[in-house]
Symmetry: C2
Subunit: 225 residues, 2 copies
Amino acid sequence: MKIGIIGGTGSIGEGMAMRFSQHHTVLIGSRDVQKAGECATECTRKLADRKIPCELSGCLNQEAIDRSEIIILAIPYAYVAPTLKDLRGLEGNIVVSPVNPMVKADYVYYAPPPEGSAGLAIRKLLPPAARLCVAFNTIAAGRWRDLESPLEYSVPVCSDDEEAKQQVMRLAESIPGIEALDGGPLRASSMVETLTPLLITLGMRNNRKDMGMRFISPQGGGNKG
Amino acid sequence: MKIGIIGGTGSIGEGMAMRFSQHHTVLIGSRDVQKAGECATECTRKLADRKIPCELSGCLNQEAIDRSEIIILAIPYAYVAPTLKDLRGLEGNIVVSPVNPMVKADYVYYAPPPEGSAGLAIRKLLPPAARLCVAFNTIAAGRWRDLESPLEYSVPVCSDDEEAKQQVMRLAESIPGIEALDGGPLRASSMVETLTPLLITLGMRNNRKDMGMRFISPQGGGNKG
């Protein structure tokens, strides 16, 4: 698959690029084409140091959209609307939101927009033909970037487009360690987006870093790790 | 510790009673004293069949409160206010809410009251001196009752009373397999209560039963199962 990462020079975007480019063609998108190129070079070097081949290059966000089948919005919630405003051509594309609106106080809490979730708000910002999925919410930037460790995560995927959801679930499971789960319709995305502020709160309160989660089923039906 | 379970004859209450009574003195509370007694007898028999000793008896909800240090509200959210209205003497007690307000549609979603969570709404219903903790939210009734399997769960505990929180964390960790985590203040309980409707949705959509979750930390800091 061809994956375009909007905001791909950020910490989480760079980590995603290094993971996905081992199995797919990845375009790191940025508003700054030079920064995108430098980031792609640096990621390629890190992978080459570990003798891992990859397909990775940098370009403008718009070019990443024009040349990809799946677009990942690797940007904080506050930047989503201003970023999408300037971009075109998302009709028919699969758009993936790993975005979690949250606020840091004495703990970190989920702060969804009036639509009910970032996913539902982004739905309104996209052309109707864009195929939105919410996925990869809980994987911390540090875990994406830590190439020595497999990503032992359960990844729920929410969407109203069942075919797009299946494609994103396949994309998720192309990364070793990840188990993709059908997370239900886009309306269910508020529950998935809640996981990350909870994980950060638990990390803060229990002196853990980059916490993740694995869903478990009894009788060996799921993954007990 | 002396544990009183309000609504202890229900499916989840009975399961909790069988688990906790192996390590603590448990009173199964009910509005119907005969039903409470029968449930205690049945639970004791099930444990005796497995040669597991227990300390377990049945009584009215009010007596369970009067004779216990920790009170668990093992009742659906809709029954909490009418049940608490008739009960007295919760001042100074530790009260544990595993309650998750949720609605079943084509998926199951979190439906918190206007206060923001069941925990915050229950806080208003209790006397100010009651020491409320939100805990044990994600453990399905079927898992509590399946005595052959350890409860491999992470249990976040939310409270504004740090000492009560520590006691409930110790209570949780007295059950083999459970890892207790500080879940932050009571305001954070909405994120914890969200986990159960999400788990049920994931179970429905992915043909899994009684799904649970384990939080994981890299570098062996947490529990990878």
